[in-house]
């Protein structure tokens, strides 16, 4: 099981706790897993089969650049965050 932390607003929308458990061998399957558990959750994170440009997935402290095809083995926590850059 992987601990998943969703943005506060997504948690509010789906009335979820701070952390939820999920599984999947890659990010796509993990999100599918969540979408089955919480129907509609996928469209908060995914846009035409890509991770939304405004969302970044941080896997054990590292922001993946691979998006949905990111493999997940021996992963303990995943955070979905708004993506940010600088000046």
């Amino acid at each position: 099981m992987i601990k998943v932390f969703l943005p506060y607003k997504t948690r509010k929308l789906f009335d979820l706790p701070v952390e939820i458990d999920a599984e999947g061998n890659n990010l796509r399957n993990l999100i599918e897993f969540l979408d089955i558990k919480y129907p509609g959750l996928k469209q908060e994170l995914v846009d035409d089969e890509k991770l939304k440009p405004t969302i970044s997935a941080v896997i054990d402290g590292r922001t993946t650049r691979l998006g949905l095809i990111q493999k997940l083995d021996k992963v303990s926590e995943i955070h979905f965050l708004p993506s940010i850059a600088g000046g």
Partner: protein, 756 residues
């Protein structure tokens, strides 16, 4: 300049060679945005709205079109209407519709200076005379010019058609583009357990990046619908993407050639004039150049969000932080994006706080659409947080550095947005501050001339993004190496990137020749921003250099007819493990090599790296009769990971600190009630001059990043975060009260002194 760097066995990294592009820049030969002159080129000018908020009812261009010397006149009718599809990554965030409306208004102007039409003519003055003949019929609306006005329930609405996102709920008729919240633990409950809770509200006026080179755009629209753009930009690829979106062309139809860039600090990421130059070129069938005036730059580019920030921190009796709360309201300007996520990420970034609750509002106001400015969002929140920290130390009578060390964020600390830090160096920075000569030299509170003095300290943070970079290398016959890259060079990055390749190749920095090339000549490279360039493009150079060595050894193996495994490549010399007779220099190899050109090409798409933390110490002197403040001593300490070229790292620290000093003391958009900036010149927008500053001492603390082979951390943005609170804290130390709104100008200080 003391460098706290440990002795390293690097040969190139950590040295201070002359930057490769330096000669062109000290001789006036370097070509910046407005310096490009194309055969048959004509000039453009734009008509800007005199109103901060108005509907465009009609535009009559007939008179201008018929003037002598005028080639073409354009309005937004000449641009495609775009959808509100969200765009790429966050440097180019926002919808395509907003991107194009900000280039030229369609039905509504949202800030004074918003472009409504443009003209091309045979010379600049004719173009400027012609725009005066364009008649625009406006329906003037009441503007909102700060977050309070904009969030008022009866506020005039900037975008009738826009749908705001308030915690995921779609909301119409709002000036709050986004309301978001971030929670770690249970802050409400944690505050109840605190022995001391301190809350402060700060207010910041809008400020500008202030780069000395105004925006420009030069373009040719070829008959085969290919657009060539020459411009001064922080990202030729993001510029290409934006131009192609606004013109509704495939990216492959746009080629951007980056000119030298005369400062950006984030403000040269958006596009303003390039698409207009392109359309005018299409209509005129000539190359067209447009350049902003300084007033245009202030009125209609940048700026950095003003706004209000409330921070509340609770501690136990020993000073351990238990809870943090923040309310962040920042001005996006006419279109969304006030960097509230970054602000939320940075507000408690220096501390280990178990429970955090952060609310953030991205607020639309009738000011120019804000652009990133060096660590966007972070200085605003650092002002509030570091003020609260200073106040807690006073109340608990704790040492300002010891308190920070007690609560310092380090590897494993959970951040406000959730993920835990990897290796970071704030602890080392604070320890260096404690040992620094500045901190240990006593400050006389009164000076001979009756002025009062104060000392302040503050910390700040900025992360460094990774993203895409590409680098090509090729070996010259003389054993030197050509490096081509796509990162526009604002402050010495050609050198810092070339030095990383040189280090790997074991040759000196001068033997690697870097050039920044156009978008047809290199792989996609993201903007020079987010403190990413030396980290990410440097990483690509590191990879490409290793690939080049592989090429060299495999070809050398064939020359010597031995196995690749037998070849040793070190310090630019090839030799054989087995046969001591076999030796050749890179130059000899390049000269002998019969197996075709030796080239390599590498690209990266890096994750965000653990960022950089800084702590600043400032001494200032206040004239109690006039309120005038002078900075008399300033020290910047920062974890720079590994300084590739220490001189340019110091330069980033000094420059960032100076911008922060200007922000703290004098810089502001002084707005009229009807939303016009009244001080849109360098005379009245008071940036620091040479006479306003002491030498800026720097201490480079080197805690190598785990995310880069040489331990590079982004250094460019962090230094603008601590100055505002450091100076505000120093003012409090000098006169015994806090002034919690920027700029902390003489009139405010004098009023405060009189009211005491």
């Amino acid at each position: 300049m003391v460098s706290k760097a440990k002795k390293s066995d690097y040969k190139v990294i950590g040295t201070r060679p002359i930057r490769h592009d330096g000669y062109d820049k000290v001789t006036g030969r370097a070509q910046y945005g407005a310096d490009i002159k194309l055969p048959g080129m004509i000039y453009g000018a734009v008509l800007r709205s005199p109103h901060a908020h108005a509907k465009i009812k009609n535009i009559d261009i007939s008179k201008a079109e018929n003037m002598n010397g005028v080639f073409a006149v354009m309005t937004a009718k000449d641009l495609p209407r775009l959808t509100d599809k969200q765009r790429g990554n966050s440097e180019e965030s926002g919808s395509e519709k907003h991107l194009s409306e900000n280039v030229m208004a369609f039905d509504k102007v949202l800030y004074k200076g918003h472009v409504v039409a443009a003209v091309s003519a045979n010379d600049v003055n004719t173009a400027r005379e012609a725009i005066k003949e364009i008649i625009v019929d406006y329906e003037v609306l009441k503007p909102v010019i700060n977050v309070d006005q904009a969030m008022d329930k009866d506020a005039p609405i900037l975008h009738e058609d826009f749908i705001g996102d308030h915690l995921g709920k779609k909301v119409k008729n709002t000036n709050i583009a986004t309301y978001n919240r971030y929670k770690i633990g249970d802050a409400d409950d944690a505050f109840k357990k605190c022995d001391l809770v301190v809350e402060k509200e700060v207010e910041l006026q809008t400020v500008h990046q202030g780069y000395i080179e105004p925006h420009s755009g030069t373009a040719i629209w070829d008959e085969d619908d290919r657009v060539k753009v020459w411009t001064s930009t922080q990202g030729s690829f993001s510029n290409r993407d934006s131009v192609s979106k606004v013109l509704n062309l495939d990216v492959s139809r746009v080629k951007v050639t980056p000119m030298e860039i005369g400062g950006g600090f984030g403000g040269k990421i958006p596009v303003y004039l390039e698409p207009i130059a392109a359309v005018l070129s299409k209509k005129s069938r000539r190359p067209v150049q447009l350049v902003m005036s300084r007033t245009d730059v202030f009125d209609a580019s940048g700026p950095a969000p003003g706004g209000k920030v409330i921070v509340k921190i609770g501690v136990d009796k020993n000073g351990k932080m238990l809870a943090g709360y923040a309310d962040i309201r920042l001005e996006a300007g006419g279109y969304p994006e006030a960097f509230i996520e970054a602000a939320a990420k940075c507000v408690f970034s220096c501390y280990d706080i178990p429970s955090m609750d952060i609310e953030a509002y991205d607020v639309l106001v009738n000011k120019p659409s804000s652009a990133p400015y060096r660590a966007p969002g972070s200085p605003q929140v650092a002002f509030a947080t570091e003020t609260v920290v200073d106040e807690i130390c006073k109340k608990l009578d704790m040492d300002l550095i010891d308190f920070r060390l007690l609560n310092v964020a380090e590897k494993g600390t959970r951040t406000a947005l959730g993920p835990k830090y990897r290796k970071i160096g704030l602890k080392e920075v604070l320890e260096a501050a404690k040992k620094s000569d500045h901190w240990n030299s006593k400050l006389e509170k009164k000076s001979v001339n009756g002025k009062v003095r104060g000392r302040g300290i503050a910390s700040g943070y900025w992360f460094n993004i990774g993203e895409k970079s590409a680098v090509n290398l090729s070996l010259n016959m003389d054993g030197t190496v050509i490096l081509t890259e796509g990162s526009t060079d604002i402050g010495g990055s050609r050198a810092s990137i070339a030095m990383q390749a040189a280090e790997v190749l074991g040759i000196n920095a001068e033997s690697v020749r870097p050039s920044v090339v156009d978008t047809d000549s290199i792989g996609h490279t993201d903007v020079t921003g987010g403190s990413r360039t030396t980290y990410a493009t440097g990483y690509a150079a590191y990879k490409a250099a290793h690939m080049l060595i592989d090429e060299i050894t495999s070809k050398a193996a064939k020359i010597w007819d031995i196995s690749e495994g037998d070849i040793i490549y070190k310090d630019g010399i090839l030799s054989s493990r087995t046969d001591s007779e076999l030796n050749m220099t890179l130059r000899e190899f390049a000269d002998r090599n019969p197996f075709g050109p030796v080239v390599s090409s590498a690209s990266v798409d890096l994750e965000e790296a653990a960022g950089g933390f800084g702590t600043h110490i400032v001494d200032l002197e206040i004239d109690p009769e006039t309120g005038k403040t002078d900075v008399i001593r300033y020290t910047v300490l920062q974890d720079v990971g590994k300084a590739i070229h220490p001189s340019y790292v110091e330069g980033q620290l000094q420059g960032g600190a100076t911008q922060g000093i200007g922000w703290a003391l004098n810089e502001e958009y002084f707005m009229s009630d009807d939303g016009k900036m009244l001080n849109s010149s360098y005379l009245d927008y008071r940036m620091p001059i040479a006479l306003d500053l002491p030498m800026i001492e720097t201490v480079l603390v080197e805690v190598p990043s785990e995310d880069h082979p040489f331990g590079v951390r982004g250094v460019g943005e962090t230094p603008i975060c601590p100055p505002v609170p450091a100076i505000s804290n120093a003012v409090n130390d000098a006169i015994g009260t806090r002034i919690l709104s920027t700029p902390i100008k003489a009139s405010k200080i004098l009023n405060t002194l009189k009211s005491m």
